[in-house]
Amino acid sequence: MPVITFKKKYLYSLLGSGIDDKKLNEQVIKMGFEVESLNEDEVLLEITPNRLDLIDAVGFARSMKNFMHKSKKFSYSIDNPETAVEITVDSSVKKIRPYISGLAAFGVKLTEDSMLNLINFSEKFCETYGRGRKKIAIGMHNLDKMKTQLVYKCDRDMDFVPLGETAPMKYSKVLESNDKGKKYSNLITNGKSCYYPSLSDSEGAIAFIPILNSERTKLTEDTRNMFVDITGTSEYAVNKVADLLAATFFDMGADVRRVKIKYPNKTIDLPELEKRYININLAKAETQIGVDIGFNNVISLANKMGYEAALIGNIIRFRVPEYRLDVIGEQDVIEDIAIGYGYDYINPLSMFYSQQGGVEGQTILNRRAAEAMIGMGFSETASSYLTNEEYNFDKARLRRDRSAITMKNPKTETVTIMRTWILPSLFKSLGMSAHESMPQRIFEVDMAFSVKEGMPAESYRIGAVSIDPKSNFNEAKSYVEGFLDAIGIEHSISSYEHKSFIDGRCAEIRVNGKHIGFFGEIHPEVLKNFGIEEPGIAFEMDLSFK
């Protein structure tokens, strides 16, 4: 879940009078988020990843004020048909970063706080929803320092003065020496080719996309008129983000104007701010939530959640706020109604219980096995399914084979495969218990994994180990036979070779002539490999329920 940081003074000034720490905390939880921490200067909020409109303090304050019925701000539209900026999209960007949108905002009164909020917002937004700028990157410019005719294209390796620099630099140099250049260079390389997407006016680049803006158009506290570019790999996403940003600039008191985007095959004016409606059947919503809301209340609940709503017959028409990218359909609106109503007021309602419940056959078999083993004095363990070749094979004197489920991207060498059998897990636990008193008897009934004919195979197995200075083969046999008799499995025993056991002190278990497991005296080298200091015996067998 994204955690966002707001300047407390700024946030509280946006929220208006009557807000304090306690109230903020209460309301935030009711809205479905959490105050992670709160101090004199800052508020850290954990929001859910669907509500990216809340990463912005302005957007957050808007939703919270609606939620507290302190304002009714539902929809945004641009009446002026004139576009303020024109961007020509060259076909060269198609193979690397094909889409662009934008907006212009006039009369923005930037302050230190509001400027910081805009910068933090776009950074965080591009990291999360923008997938590290791959899907979305945002650039903000001082409109008065640029021309209004722009070209978006893949450029040659040109000079421009990047943000924070005084001298011109080539794009390739930016990728080499600038922190942002290094961090995002992978976004403009495709195989061996590197592209330099840029947004330029007649004086040169105003942005090296999606890396860095120019020093020329940077924002300052004196900036009054702004231009914002949004680029990315999804046309839907870049257009929607323009809507979202438009709402923010409107709330900051700016006059938002459209930008004309001229693709090779079409021309569109953005932000679109398209009106979108979702019809809700109140009875259905009430059934899903499990409460009675009533027509009288539902409009007010809609407003609380930022929707404009109207009753049309017995259907309620919800207008989806332009900044909400997450509202896909009916169920999303019903959720918002539930949140508006308050989860605390949804009373648990008992269901009718008529059917018989039950556990799987495997669970019953596992329970029997555990009961028998505990009866013989073995304590149960629970181990990780994840291991590596060293523990699963080498230490147990087995040859490594390709039968293990293998991880593609492990973070450490301790976890590279899934265990193919149980005993190494038990040996490992006993090796860490060498200083505890003897005898030590443990067992585990759980899963082991392998690859069979290219498909993953998962099965339940039982493994048991007894470490005891008086261990011998006959003791192992007595446990095995006692166990199998107790759970009612007819079996036969014959001699067997297994590298983890001493030759001539090892046997296999067969059921209906089929090999299901083995037991014997553990090989001294295996004991030593795992750090076990006393002799011991062990058995392992398949315990899949059939």
Partner: protein, 486 residues
């Protein structure tokens, strides 16, 4: 009772009052051990000890020699007898010392260098003999006389006087008798088959044990705390009419992510968080028709390309909700082919889930999760809340709900437990109503409630002796032996 104490107590009971030296002899213990055990017995009130304040006379080396060989004056007097001996003929220091003492007591006279006994009568001779005998008595420890009789010897430094406080005798008390199981009875100690069949115990009393004596405890073999809580959870579900289900841990991305509406470019699918498998690397999705529906739903909702290749990548499941997803599909598929179900259907699963973590003492890469699923008509969020409250109630945990977001449910909720005696709450799991895009249930007028929750966290709330998650999977013998059946 310590075995030395028991030995001594038994010996004292047999002998009545017993002197220390006898006691030591009869139990065969050294003095230190005996005194230590007696001190303990006295503290417990099992014996009464009689002390004596007395003087003890010890011989000096010279005194010891005289006790063994006789006093020098005694020996010289014997040698003189009726004879005279010249002073110059005296051979040893002893004889010269004897001469001085005989002279001091006026028993000899010396004339012209010749020594001769004077006639002082028999008394004088027998007195000398008696005096010599005193030393012998002291040597043998049989001296019973007083200090005055030895005043000369003390002056001559043949004997030293020491004041001592010693144990005169030891006697058993009533409590001591009781500790041994009664006064006069013949005792039955260990029971054997003969005692049972002959009923010989009837004429005796049973030897009793001191119930306060610390002993080494037995350690019962037990189920692992995690497995115990899982059994409890399974019982809680089945008692409410839920049927257990299970599914693969090594799963395709399709069932783990796509069928649960996680966008293909979602950060949760990153290599950073999810274990991807290289063997087997990809397995094609078999449920083609369903896959195409999911593909369409993704495109409509997320406006991104949806690739079958990404869906076929094998992963270790990140949640057991993949099991629920498979059953939703199976059931809806069966219904479309005419199968009949008695609604609501209630299902649950318990299994491991995996996070691509670097494992250390704080982090685990696999943990247990439980998932629940209810499919039925007119299901409500309030039914969901009720079901979850009942399950956690059965484990003594009170839960609360708040709104939350998961791609596959809408409305979505999160539930958490208030930690006892604390302001903080611990997040237990997520829940909600499955999206129609996933279930396709609308046309059957059905909906589905689903939830998933970690199991280790329940254990942490319930059993405060468990401090961290990784210790649950270490299986250290000492740790296993200290578990309680909470």
């Amino acid at each position: 009772m310590h075995k030395y104490e028991l030995l001594i107590l038994k010996s004292v009971r047999g002998a009545g009052k017993q002197e220390l030296s006898r006691l030591m002899e009869s139990v065969g213990l050294g003095k230190d051990e005996t005194l230590w055990a007696l001190e303990n017995l006295k503290k417990q009130g099992f014996v009464e000890i009689e002390y004596v304040d007395s003087k003890y006379f010890a011989l000096s080396d010279e005194g010891r020699r005289y006790a063994e060989n006789g006093l020098p004056e005694e020996r010289l007097a014997k040698k003189l007898g009726e004879h005279k001996i010249m002073v110059s003929e005296l051979k040893s220091d002893d004889e010269r010392i004897g001469m001085q003492w005989l002279k001091a007591r006026g028993l000899i006279e010396i004339k012209n260098g010749a020594i001769k006994l004077v006639d002082a009568g028999d008394d004088a001779g027998s007195k000398l003999i008696k005096e010599g005998a005193l030393l012998k008595e002291i040597l043998s420890g049989n001296y019973t006389g007083n200090e005055d009789s030895l005043s000369d010897f003390i002056k001559r430094k043949l004997v030293a006087v020491r004041n001592i406080h010693y144990i005169k005798s030891v006697a058993i008390t009533e409590a001591g008798e009781n500790a041994l199981g009664g006064k006069h009875a013949e005792m039955t100690d260990a029971i054997d088959r003969n005692i049972i069949s002959s009923e010989s115990w009837k004429n005796k009393e049973f030897k009793t044990y001191d119930v306060n004596v610390p002993i080494e405890k037995s350690v019962p073999a037990m189920r692992h705390p995690l497995k115990r809580i899982i059994e409890h959870i399974k019982d809680a579900y089945t008692s409410m009419g839920f049927q257990e289900i299970s599914g693969p841990a090594v799963e395709s991305s399709f069932w783990n992510f796509d069928s649960l509406f996680v966008p293909q470019d979602h950060p949760a699918r990153d290599m950073q968080d999810t274990f991807y498998i290289s063997n087997p690397e990809k397995i094609a999705v078999k449920e083609i028709e369903y896959m195409n529906r999911i593909k369409k739903a993704h495109r409509n909702a997320w406006h991104t390309a949806w690739k079958e290749d990404i869906a076929s990548q094998m992963v270790l499941r990140a949640h057991t909700t993949s099991v629920s997803a498979r059953y939703v599909y199976d059931i809806m598929n069966a219904i479309s082919k005419g199968a009949y179900y008695d609604f609501p259907i209630r299902l649950f699963s318990v299994g491991r889930v995996f996070r691509n973590e670097a494992i250390d003492y704080k982090h685990l890469a696999d943990l247990y999760q439980m998932d629940g699923l209810i499919i039925g008509k007119n299901l409500t969020m309030s039914n969901l809340f009720d079901t979850l409250k009942r399950i956690y109630d059965s484990m003594g945990i009170k839960i609360n709900f708040k709104p939350s977001y998961f791609p596959f449910v809408e409305p979505g909720a999160e539930f958490y437990a208030q930690l006892p005696g604390s302001d903080s709450a611990i997040e237990l799991g997520g829940a909600g109503m499955l999206r129609e895009e996933i279930t396709g249930m609308k046309r059957n007028r059905l909906s589905a409630l689903a939830w998933g929750a970690g199991i280790e966290r329940i254990l942490l709330v319930k059993d405060t002796s468990i401090k961290s998650l990784p210790e649950l999977y270490n299986n250290n013998m000492g740790w296993l032996r200290k578990r309680r059946l909470i």
